[in-house]
Every structure is written in structure tokens, then in C-alpha cells.
């Protein structure tokens, strides 16, 4: 492995932050491997996104606004990524550990005969080998895996690295359309249910609610208000999702998402093992619960025992006035 290729996920020309986090880390890895960094940006808005990516330490930016990329799911992306990977030679490919990243990464790895690692929280180079660090078994153990072949694909957990602008050549290269391809997974329509929100996987602050919220309403009101004040996302425990109070895409835990925000606020969540495994690697954990004996008290950095319906709105007010005082 020599070069490092980064799959930049973007939304209408705006790169997702996780992509920039990965691009920043890629530079360090490429320097250790003696190679270059490449960013691959695909679909409508790729050119606009390349302007944002140029601020980060990337040597080459490969773009395509081929309309088939947005008309069909995954497969065109894999073809373009494969073309960049084959042209670069033995390479490490980094994708975000998001739905789109895992999709493209898993198919690309199969096509390249590459090793595949996922939910990676740290990367390093040791004697030319790339080591991938990932919590497994719900964070009970931390594994370090190295790639054996010429190519490796790693899916990186959001919030694992800091996105830091830096100098890079940033040469933009327009990719040629792969020849002789036809695609089958046709995107007929996109339905947006929660516009303009970062998902729980990517937000650096997550405010989650559990059984203690008692119904769907508090998720839309007091919890959402606090998340908005903190610039974060709303998460949920399995109990809340299974009760139908909030969609599954918000679920944190073993049968939901595994996340590492810098701040996790658990509201009315007991913190059973099934929930713990999804958020134990958060930077700081604050819990609000009416019961001092809840399991989450054993690993939260702060457990406030009181009435969440009183504390959460007051906290939202305090956060809002604090923010106003600093602008």
C-alpha cells in the first residue's frame, strides 16, 4: 500500500464532516507510506464540493458529475472508485462508516480482492503496514487489524479524527466515465423526513431519550429543543424505538448505531448493556434520571438525579443564554 484514497461523501456539494476528518488523517498515513492522497467526489455538486475539499491537505481530487451516479444506487460509485484505485496502484481506501460509505466500501473491497475493516476509530502505519483499530463485541475489546494484501478498505467512524485544513496540491481531475457499464438499482424518488439534521452517527453532541420520556411528544419538544440548542442530534434507546416513539434511524445501541460523540446526554435512559455498547466510547457522558441506582450511573461522568421534565427545559434555556452571551 502506498497511496491513500478517500471517498468524500457529500450532500449537494457540501462535504460531510466525516469525509474531511478522514481526508485530514489520510495525509499523515500517506506520508508514512510514502504515497499521495486522493479524494474522490462523485455526483451532482462534486465540483462545488471539491472547492471545500481543496482547503484540506489532499494531493489529487478526482471528480465526476456523471448523472448516472445520482440516478442509480451505489454501483456507479464503485466503478469510479475502482478506476481511481486501480490507477493509483496498491492503495488504502478510506470510506466513512456511514450507510453510503459501507455500501461503496464493501463492494469495492470485494471487487479489488481487498481486506475490509469497519467501524475504525484509529489508524496508524507500522513498518509499511496499515493498522486499523476498532472496538468489537460492543466495546468489550479493542482490536487492531492489519491488511495483508495490496489493497485495503477501511470504514472510519465519524468523530474519530479532527478535520484540520492544511496545504495540499488539490489538483482537480475530471474522471472519465467507465466504459460498458449498465446499472440496475434505479433511484425513483428521494423522500426527506427530517431535513437539515446531522444523523446521530455524525453529530458531536447527541441528546438521547429513553423510556423515562413516557411517549413520543417529549422527543419532538423538550429533547429536540435541547439538541438544537447544543447543535446536536436526537438519539433514542431501544425501548423508545420499540414503543414507536421515534424512528429506528435514531436508535443508539446494539441493535442501533454505535457512536462516539464528544458529548452524550442520556435522558431517562437506564443504560442497560444493550444501550451501553452503542455509546460507551463517547467523550463525556451526562445522564439525567429520576433514579440514582440506574446502571448508567456506573459509567456516566455525571448523573443528575431529578425530574427530567423540569431539568431539560431549564438546561435548554441555560445553553441558549450561554451561547447568546458568547456571540
Amino acid at each position: 500500500m502506498r497511496d491513500v484514497i478517500v471517498f468524500i461523501e457529500h450532500s449537494a456539494g457540501k462535504p460531510r464532516r466525516v469525509s474531511l476528518e478522514i481526508a485530514t488523517k489520510a495525509k499523515e498515513l500517506a506520508a508514512a507510506l510514502g504515497g499521495k492522497t486522493h479524494a474522490v467526489i462523485l455526483g451532482k455538486g462534486a465540483r462545488a464540493a471539491s472547492d471545500a475539499v481543496k482547503a484540506y491537505p489532499v494531493d489529487a481530487i478526482h471528480i465526476s458529475e456523471d448523472t448516472e451516479i445520482d440516478a442509480f444506487l451505489v454501483d456507479p460509485q464503485v466503478d469510479y472508485l475502482e478506476a481511481v484505485a486501480r490507477a493509483a496502484g496498491p492503495a488504502l481506501v478510506l470510506v466513512p462508516n456511514t450507510m453510503a460509505g459501507r455500501d461503496a466500501g464493501s463492494r469495492l473491497a470485494a471487487r479489488l480482492g481487498a481486506g475490509l475493516t469497519s467501524d475504525i476509530v484509529d489508524l496508524s502505519v507500522d513498518s509499511g503496514k496499515v493498522n486499523c483499530v476498532s472496538p468489537k463485541l460492543g466495546g468489550l475489546t479493542i482490536t487492531t487489524c492489519a491488511f495483508k494484501g495490496e489493497y485495503g478498505v477501511a470504514a472510519i467512524r465519524p468523530n474519530s479524527f479532527k478535520a484540520v485544513p492544511g496545504p495540499g496540491a488539490g489538483d482537480v481531475n475530471e474522471l472519465t466515465k467507465p466504459a460498458g457499464k449498465s446499472y440496475k438499482m434505479k433511484i425513483e424518488d428521494e423522500v426527506v423526513e427530517v431535513a437539515g439534521e446531522l444523523g446521530v452517527e455524525e453529530s458531536s453532541v447527541v441528546v438521547s431519550g429513553g423510556r423515562g420520556l413516557g411517549g413520543p411528544e417529549p422527543f419532538k419538544t423538550i429533547l429536540k429543543d435541547l439538541a438544537d440548542a447544543l447543535g446536536g442530534a436526537v438519539g433514542a434507546s431501544r425501548a423508545a424505538v420499540d414503543a414507536g416513539w421515534i424512528p429506528h434511524s435514531h436508535q443508539v445501541g446494539q441493535t442501533g448505531k454505535t457512536i462516539s460523540p464528544s458529548l452524550y446526554i442520556a435522558v431517562g435512559i437506564s443504560g442497560a448493556i444493550q444501550h451501553k455498547v452503542g455509546m460507551r466510547t463517547a467523550g463525556t457522558i451526562v445522564a439525567i434520571n429520576k433514579d440514582a441506582a440506574v446502571p448508567i450511573g456506573e459509567f456516566a461522568d455525571l448523573l443528575v438525579v431529578g425530574d427530567l421534565f423540569q431539568i431539560v427545559p431549564e438546561l435548554t434555556k441555560a445553553v441558549t443564554s450561554n451561547a447568546a452571551a458568547h456571540t
Binding site: 454501483d75 463485541l137 491488511f147 438499482m185 423526513e193 431529578g306
Partner: protein, 261 residues
Amino acid sequence: MKIVVTVKLVPDTTADKRIDPATKRLVRTGETVLNPFDEYAIEAALQLKEKLGAETTVTVVTMAPERGKEVVRKALAMGADDALMLSDPGCEGSDVMGTAYALAGAIAKNGFDLVVCGTQSTDAITGELPGALAEFLGVPGLTYVRKLEIDGTTLRAERETDSGFLKVTTGLPAVVSVTKSINEPRYPSLKGIMGAKKKTIAPLTLAELALEHPIGSGGAKTELVALTDPPARGKGKVVEVSSGAEGAKVIMDFLHAKKLI
């Protein structure tokens, strides 16, 4: 129509999972259960079969040691018709790519119109098997499906995204992975449990698959170099408050001290 459902044996989520320090592999001798996500895949396949009629079959395929049979029986008790079990010592030490490659071999040998997978397993949590499986089978791979319909040879699905969903159509054969939102898995009935004992769990070996590339630890494209314990996460501060404002102040002071706001 031939529907194949992939299933995996995973350690019981309530059991103590551990890794053997010598072999660096998951100790699988403890309590194992059917991967909870796979129950949604089985249910989705059974619902399709109910709509499509009796000529549709649901076959469960797994890569697991012999003793995994009891877990496979649960899938049969739910209503799957039969099972294929790839039990071969040569599979040991397979990584996700090796597993996908071997399962693709088994599924191709069996024949299929549709493969249904769970979104991920609760032990490895990679969520990457369905995509790799689709690639190895050379068919469309539609992941994170929350609604699934088959109309002739057209598959219509709603695919979850972070902000909502995509409406996607594709042709068969195909691989799909389904999320928890798609259905509520049934419990096996007593009749189902009794009937499952008579259903076939066909053993399969690597020799029968005649795969081109090696799998197992020899074929793995990744190697485990270290295992470490996670940083300890001890008990923090516990503060009882008597009003909302007091609670908010405790949290604000804490967040300020941590420089989080």
C-alpha cells in the same frame, strides 16, 4: 421463486463475550443465539412467500460449526423450508470478505432469485457482508431496506437514509439487507417447532463448493495484530437535585469545566 436468507450464530447478547488470547478468535463455545437482525430477514422472506404462493421456497444458509444446528432450527421453526449449513474446519478464521465469498459460493450452488440478509450482526457489527455478497454473486445489492415488494421480476424497496428514504427499483436476482423497521418477526409456533425437526439441514463442505480462492485464516485479507482492553470508564459524579434550575446549573458547571460549551 427461490429466496435464500443468510443467518449467523452470535454470542448471546446477555452472555459474557470473550476472545481467546492464544487463537485471537471469538470463543464461540458459550451460549449462541440467532443474530437478532436475521429474524427480520427471515420474517421478510416468509412474508414474501405468503404473498407469492407455495411455489416460492425459503432456504436458510449459514456458515457455522455443526453445533449451530439448534440455532438454524429456530429459523426453520419460524417457517423457512430448509437449510444449508457450511460446516468446515477450513472456514475457521474467515474475515468478513472470506465469509461473504464462501456464502456466495454456497448460495450460487443452491440457486437463488433473492437473497435476504439482516442489516448487521450483533457481534462484529460491520454491516458489510450484504454488499460484499452481492458483489461476489454479481447481482444488485440493495441495503438498509425498510419496505420490500416483488412485482413479477421487479423489486421495489424503500431504502433508509440518514434523512428519510429512497424509493428504489431493481431487477432480480438481487441481494437485499433489511432493517428493524421492516417488520415484527413472528415467534415460532408450537406446530412450527415440531415441524422444524423434520426439515432438512443439508451439510455442505468447502470441497463441494470448489471455490477458486482460499478462505479461512489462510485466505483472510486482514490479520489481528493486537487485542486490548477498552479504557476504563468508572463511576462519575452523582448529584441529586430538587429543581430543574438546580439540575441545569449542575450540568452547565460540569460542561464548562470540561470545556464542552
